[in-house]
């Protein structure tokens, strides 16, 4: 988060709303609003509307998160607890519960990974997404951003802000401007118009010291940096930072979204509302998870060789089993059959709290050689599932699914939304 205070927030979005031209704006920065506080409010609704501070208790405590109500009193993250108490004595102080935040973060990141495998989490509450590959299936970037915001709200009862832009840097600036609970699109053609009036402190990598040095040279806005002669910049910030700041100030940011771990495995898991023992429910759940995993593999253009099953029992014991297939697959049928066989062999004999299916040993699907077998039908499950993908792209996720999953509640689609919620209060 750091120096996001220097970026103007909210208000006056002159044409940077959800309906701006998002062509080529394939990077999303999603930032959860007052994340820890929101997770606390979610489970303790009586706290809603009250100034709330997570952390900061005890003589040396530091504020981890402050609700917007507390921020009105000037409370900020990383502020000493004593100062926060002085500013806002009526606030509710809560000790941080990182297990709860981690769990909520995982659920939110899962939603992101439904959209694209290229998710780069920066911390528990923010992530970059590259949606270039999802545009054909799910619609324009702004529509995807709106759908993510809606799913996070509907499924997790949490609020996030999203910046949509051509680069990571601009996307992050966008989400900061969008806060709280907003969506900002920075069209590729208007990057400089957006960027140049900002103070130099908004540039990534410019901390207080660098800012001071730039100010001494008379460089106060990003435009000043962009137009400064290289020699001047070099004297202010040194050789290495010159190229970096110069590029950023001109709107260039070559950093790619680097999915952490996404290349190692792709999977899905679910925690039951109440612990489950019924084999039918388990089978159906594994079928659903296998379908999700396969869909994510196909969207990422990957195929996996090893199916791994994760089972967490009611007493929190976690068991996992894996089996390596003859060749890589992205077919949910094959994943499910193996996952189910693993489950049957495991026979946990206890109530189950969580199930997960994961594919490891990934390789690029198209280039993976496949040993053909005699009499194998040339049109098989894979083709059927590709057809289902195409249907999902047009009619929303879950448009076509296994019959045994039909009676389950249809999840809100991450697909093209029927309405775009740019009417959200900013």
């Amino acid at each position: 988060m750091g120096r996001s205070q220097v970026v103007p927030r909210g208000g006056g979005d002159e044409g940077f709303g959800a309906d701006a031209d998002d062509t080529g704006c394939t990077i999303l920065h999603v930032d959860m609003d007052a994340f820890y506080c929101s997770v606390e409010v979610r489970r303790r609704p009586e706290l809603r509307g009250r100034p709330l501070i997570v952390g900061g208790a005890g003589p040396r405590g530091v504020v981890s998160s402050a609700s917007y109500e507390a921020r009105e009193f000037g409370v900020r993250s990383a502020m000493p607890g004593a100062r926060a108490r002085a500013l806002c004595p009526q606030a509710v102080f809560l000790p941080p519960d990182f297990d709860a935040y981690t769990e909520a973060s995982r659920a939110v990141m899962e939603i992101f990974r439904d959209v694209t495998p290229l998710v780069e989490p920066l911390s528990l509450d923010e992530a970059f997404l590259d949606v270039a590959g999802a545009v054909r299936l799910l619609g324009r970037p702004a529509a995807i951003a709106a759908a993510i915001r809606r799913r996070v709200r509907e499924e997790q009862r949490l609020v996030c802000s999203v910046g949509v832009a051509p680069t990571k840097f601009m996307a992050k600036l966008g989400s900061t401007r969008a806060k709280p609970d907003g969506l900002v699109v920075i069209p590729a053609a208007r990057v400089l118009e957006y960027l140049h009036p900002l103070p130099v402190g908004a540039l990534w990598g410019v901390g207080e010291r660098t800012e001071e040095q730039l100010h001494r040279m008379g460089l106060r806005t990003v435009r000043d940096v962009a137009e400064a002669p290289p020699g001047l910049l070099r004297r202010a910030v040194g050789e290495a930072a010159t190229a970096h700041l110069g590029a950023l100030a001109r709107g260039h940011d070559p950093r790619r979204v680097e999915p952490v771990q996404a290349e190692k495995s792709i999977g899905a898991e679910t925690t039951f509302d109440t612990d489950v023992a019924d084999p039918d429910t388990i089978r159906r759940t594994l079928l659903g998870l296998s379908g999700k995993t396969a869909g994510r593999l196909r969207r990422a253009g990957q195929a996996g060789r090893t199916v791994s099953l994760k089972v967490r029992l009611a007493d929190f014991r976690t068991l996992s089993r894996s089996r390596t297939l003859g060749g890589p697959t992205d077919v949910s049928r094959e994943i499910f059959e193996t996952a189910w066989a693993l489950f049957e062999a495991l026979a946990p004999g206890d109530r189950i709290r969580l199930l997960g299916v994961r594919m490891e040993g990934l390789s690029v699907a198209g280039t993976t050689p496949k040993q053909l077998s005699l009499g194998e039908s040339e049109v098989g499950w894979r083709e059927a599932e590709l057809a289902a993908d195409a249907a999902a792209a047009r009619f929303g996720a879950g448009a076509v699914r296994p019959a045994s999953l039909l009676n389950q509640e249809r999840r809100p689609a991450a697909g093209p939304p029927s309405r775009i919620d740019h009417a959200d209060p900013a």
Binding site: T368, P369, Q371, L374, G375, E378
Partner: protein, 376 residues
């Protein structure tokens, strides 16, 4: 029981019997070989309820009787003895074996606990031992080794008139060979699915003996679900595998669009060399064209290799990829100096047939190999 016998005769007999003994027997007696002497003849037998083997040896018998001793131990002992006459005698609950100045005392197991060996089924016909063994070796290599698909671990024997056909497939390749044989009493029409390992072991042991092998197949009544092979003083029986063998014959393409003729040994050498860079799941790619054949392996980022060789080729240029081990297995099984490879297209099965130096196909052996699909 007491007898004298030449070391070689005894060692061969025990080795033949002991090979089918289970390594982890369900009951201890099944780890034994039965030695039974009567009328100047020793019968050595082994049985594991699936496969039985028996062989007769002429001996100098001093006393009739029977003893059951550990097969594996006796096989190792007899193999290592000096080439001198061996004397074997049952003494109380032991067997004493002496050969020259070497002396072994082996514990015995109760003879009465040993199961009765199944009778040989009725004779179906006979086949030349040498060609039979060669054909079995050519076919059995294509059988599956995955016990979760038991049907594919067998070799299908089809007895039809004067033709004995054998086929096996593990889904990725298919080997088929026809052989002339002499059916007993005219018309025979039968099929059996024999465990490939047993058939291969049996044929390998019977082949070098020359002469002919009698095939015995139960057709209803006694010995249902059983096949027997015998040659000379040796016989073996095996339970047949249950289940329907897939109708693979229809999958053999009867036409081709392209055909290549290559010296078997040269191609095998090139494939072996190039395959050094092919990892487990990556194939070798064969590109056929007017200028001959190029064999390649390896990916864009991994180690790569390629080698060109002469090849007589008719058809449109084509690149087809195979698991290199499957290809080498097929080449090694060919009974001719030249391989004739027939293709229809890169995702359809290829067929390899043996030919003479003149390029004329020499035997009924066909090795079908499914390609590896590359690049989507």
């Amino acid at each position: 029981m007491k007898f004298r016998v030449e070391r070689d005769a005894l060692a061969d007999a025990v080795a033949w019997t002991a090979k089918s003994l289970p390594s982890r027997p369900s009951v201890p007696v099944l780890a034994g070989v039965m030695l039974r002497v009567s009328d100047g003849r020793l019968q050595v037998s082994g049985f594991d309820y699936e496969v039985s083997s028996q062989v007769g040896v002429d001996v100098q018998a001093d006393a009739d009787g029977a003893a059951l001793v550990s097969g594996r131990l006796l096989a190792e002992i007899t193999k290592s003895l000096r080439a001198l006459p061996v004397e074997l005698a049952a003494v109380g609950s032991h067997v004493e074996l002496t050969c020259g100045s070497a002396r072994f005392t082996l514990p015995t197991m109760p003879v009465e606990d040993y199961p009765t060996l199944p009778d040989m089924p009725a004779t179906a016909g006979t086949v030349e031992a040498g060609p039979f063994a060669a054909a079995v070796a050519q076919v059995a290599l294509a059988a599956g080794r995955d016990d979760t698909l038991p049907v594919l671990t067998g070799v299908r024997l089809e007895l039809e008139g004067k033709t004995l056909t054998m086929l096996a497939t593990d889904r990725y390749r298919l080997a088929i060979r026809e052989l002339e044989w002499r059916p007993e009493g005219g018309e025979v029409s039968a099929a059996a699915l024999v465990p490939a390992r047993t058939l291969n072991d049996t044929a390998k042991a019977l082949g070098p003996l020359g002469g002919s092998v009698t095939v015995a197949l139960s057709r209803g009544g006694v010995g249902e679900g059983m096949i027997g092979f015998s040659a000379g003083a040796r016989r073996t029986t095996s339970r047949l595998l249950d289940g329907e063998f897939p109708k693979v014959r229809a999958l053999l393409p009867d036409t081709h669009n392209a055909q290549a003729r290559v010296p078997v040994s040269a191609l095998a050498e090139v494939v072996k060399r190039v395959a050094l860079v092919a990892e487990r799941a990556t194939p070798v790619r064969l590109s056929f064209g007017e200028d001959g054949l190029v064999v390649e392996a390896g990916g864009t980022e991994d180690a790569r290799a390629s080698e060109a060789m002469d090849c007589e080729y008719t058809g449109e240029p084509m690149t087809i990829a195979f698991n290199h081990q499957y290809l080498l297995d097929g080449l090694a099984a060919l009974d001719g100096p030249v391989a004739v490879l027939s293709f229809t297209e890169p995702k359809k099965p290829a067929i390899i047939a043996p030919a003479g130096e003149d390029g004329q196909i020499t035997s009924s052996y066909r090795y079908l190999i499914m390609p590896v699909r590359i690049g989507g």
